[in-house]
């Protein structure tokens, strides 16, 4: 099972990283929509809420199809607002699918992230059910198909004494109560989604709930243009006395309909429940084996100064500050192992190196880098890559071809600045830190804190005495080897120029000038 999960994850990651690379080249990593899939869903939910309020004013449960037709006939407002509502909900499903696939591929679906994974699945389910109710509200041919299919599924359960499907055969007019229930669910479920969304991000310190402005306005503009130029039309009203021949099917919400209509209702339940169980159990079957799991952070209370930097930097709010009980004044950091994802970001935030997962603390890193340098025996022209295990993954061979070595770390945010200082002072020509793109960090905030520690004096800051000319940060995803190779070559050139310039500075002009005189005097 574990092998299968790993293969599946590797396959999805291979596809996603290729798509990432393509999108980065087109839009830059800052505006890559694939990196902002979660934030785009929130944006789209807000769009759905606003447009839904407008539609709610004109919708009538007593005449569902006619009232939606009237909205659609409002050429200047209603038509495109309805279209924006529809296209926005479609885009939301698309963004959710990308978001879920990304987290699955990155293995961010187990341990402390289980709550986010499960609440995300609940959000997806509620979104799909909410969409279902929205389509039934229109009561056109597609609505009829969805309602009849839903009733067919439910009728197989031994809980109703009367088949629900009879409600749609024209024996009686469909009561307004049915449409009221639909309307209620269509309003209540999205409101509930915002509550689940709060749970979804509750373990994240600083969730990015909205995409950057350029992407936000760009996405809205495109959806708006689509709504105006290609508005959603109206299918004929549902008619129980005509065979529903054709419908305009929304693939995002009713992708399953052509398949399930061919299956017995019992088989649909078995298949649906199995799929749900597999998705819900993902935190179990995507969890690495015990030996592959990193231990959560621990704190050396003797070293902790109570500065709170780790508490501020932790992306998962796994650290709290507690009053000291050892007779010393102040507070000290305590890690909740159930919330810690072992990213090691706290290790880099601690100047006295008193916190971090086993093997990843500042002290452990210094030991490792000491050994690394002992083996490397640096040349002043050498560039060492301090590479995030994800961003620089698979780059070792390429780097080694040019004479560079990679000092690998689990996350760029885990690199203690003392390691960088050590490398420079030990004599390497330059240090190229390879981090993931800021919005694609698997530990959320690694590149951000790295940048601030290196260039903006965030604790534990890189000391002023370290020559910044010998440092560079480059953001790359695992597929961007060509870009990374380019950045490495560029940095090597810059280090060579730096070495040449330094060699020139070392020439004592006075001495150079005096020598001939001395020679002359001597002669």
């Amino acid at each position: 099972m574990e092998g299968l999960a790993a293969k599946l994850r590797s396959l999805s990651w291979s596809l996603i990283s290729r798509a990432d690379r393509f999108m980065n080249r087109l839009y830059s990593s800052r505006f890559n929509p694939l990196y902002h899939s979660g934030a785009l869903v929130v944006l789209l939910l807000v769009v759905l809420l606003v447009t839904g309020l407008y539609l709610l004013i004109f919708y009538r449960i007593g005449e569902p199809h006619a009232s939606v037709a009237r909205i659609t006939d409002q050429a200047w407002l209603g038509r495109w607002i309805r279209s924006l509502h529809r296209y926005g909900s479609d885009a939301a499903v698309f963004a959710v699918a990308i978001h879920a696939a990304r987290l699955f591929a990155q293995g961010r679906s187990w341990g402390p992230r289980t709550l986010a994974w499960l609440s995300g699945l609940v959000l997806l389910f509620v979104l799909l059910v909410s969409g279902w109710t929205g389509y039934v509200m229109v009561w056109d041919v597609q609505a009829q198909l969805l309602a009849v299919e839903g009733a067919r599924w439910l009728d197989v359960l031994p809980i109703f004494s009367e088949p629900l499907g009879r409600a749609f055969v024209g024996e009686q007019a469909i009561p307004s109560a049915f449409f009221f229930l639909n309307l209620f669910l269509h309003v209540a479920l999205p409101v509930g989604m915002f509550v689940i969304l709060w749970v979804h991000v509750s373990r994240i310190a600083r969730p990015g709930l909205l995409p950057p402005r350029g992407l936000l306005w760009g996405s809205l503009g495109l959806l708006l243009a689509l709504s105006v130029l290609w508005p959603i039309g109206m299918d004929p009203a549902a008619d129980a006395f005509r065979i529903p021949e054709r419908a305009a099917l929304d693939v995002f919400y009713a992708f399953w309909l052509p398949v399930t209509r061919l299956m017995p209702a019992g088989a649909v339940w078995v298949f649906g429940l199995s799929l749900t169980a597999v998705a819900l159990a993902a935190p179990l079957w995507t969890r690495p084996a015990a030996e592959g799991k990193a231990e959560p952070s621990s704190v050396d209370a003797q070293l902790c100064t109570g500065c709170e930097q780790c508490y501020l930097d932790c992306p998962y709010e796994a650290i709290t500050m507690k009053r000291r009980m050892d007779g010393r004044e102040g507070v000290y950091a305590v890690v909740d192992p159930d919330l810690c994802v072992s990213c090691g970001i706290c290790a880099a935030s601690c100047a006295p190196m008193g916190i971090g997962p086993p093997g990843m603390t500042g002290r452990d890193q210094l030991e490792r880098v000491e050994e690394f340098m002992r083996l490397l025996r640096p040349d002043p022209r050498d560039v060492v890559l301090v590479g995030c295990a994800r961003g620089a993954a698979g780059f070792e061979t390429l780097a080694a071809g040019g004479g560079s070595r990679i000092f690998q770390v689990p996350c760029a945010g885990n690199v203690h600045t003392s390691v960088i200082e050590y490398l420079v002072r030990a004599g390497v020509g330059g240090v190229l830190v390879v981090a993931c793109h800021p919005r694609d960090c698997w530990s959320r905030e690694g590149p951000r804190w790295l940048e601030e520690r290196m260039y903006h004096d965030r604790e534990a800051e890189l000391k002023e005495r370290v020559d910044r000319n010998r440092l560079r940060v480059f953001h790359a995803s695992s597929g961007e080897h060509r870009e990374l190779a380019g950045a490495l070559a560029d940095f090597r050139d810059s280090i060579r120029r730096l070495a040449a310039a330094e060699a020139e500075v070392e020439i004592d002009i006075e001495l150079e000038c005096e020598v001939p005189e001395l020679q002359e005097a001597g002669s």
Binding site: L26, S161, E162, G165, G170, D239, A240, A247, D250, V251
Partner: protein, 175 residues
């Protein structure tokens, strides 16, 4: 960023947007309208057959005080036999029991027959399946029958349901 890259970026964004528009309204052929459907949908309240007996003193003593009754009755709803014939040929004969775990809830008929368009002779009967001597005690048992000539065009749906007075009738449009 080169012009080519900007242009490509805009193109990809437009294509993705158009894909959302296209996938939002994919033409879907749901059913073949070369056929016509006959739907059967109605309910019948089936009388309950009960067998009652008096509890022995020993049985009564085993029951809690508030549940002690001299006579207990166990039973189920009377099953009905549904017979459907189309153009003189039997297409279904089924015994239908009442809904619910005890089978004492109303009986529902909910069927769909797919037929060729054109004229059809439809005969339906729903009769209680019970011995005559037992049936004598249940004067209100319903028997439903229908014999009707239907002329169905392609794509038509005819609904057989209960009309005023409880008899079976054909309906061709919503009430």
């Amino acid at each position: 960023m080169s012009r080519l890259r900007v242009g490509l970026g805009v193109l990809v964004a437009l294509l993705m947007t158009l894909a959302i528009g296209a996938l939002s309204q994919v033409p879907y052929r749901t059913e073949s309208t070369d056929q016509a459907w006959i739907r059967l949908s109605w309910r019948v309240s089936a009388p309950r057959i009960e067998k009652c007996r008096t509890l022995t003193a020993e049985e009564l003593s085993e029951l809690p005080l508030h549940m002690r009754r001299d006579e207990v009755c166990e039973g189920t709803g009377i099953p009905y036999r549904l017979r459907i014939a189309l153009n003189g040929e039997g297409v279904e004969e089924t015994l239908i029991r009442g809904a619910g775990t005890r089978g004492d809830q109303p009986i529902y008929v909910f069927r769909e027959l797919r037929v060729e368009p054109g004229a059809h002779r439809l005969e339906i009967s729903l009769t209680p399946e019970i011995a005559r001597d037992v049936a004598a005690g249940y004067a209100e048992m319903e028997t439903l029958e229908l014999a009707e000539d239907l002329d169905l065009a392609a794509g038509d749906v005819a609904l057989i349901t209960r009309a005023a007075g409880g008899r079976l009738a054909v309906r061709r449009a919503e009430p």
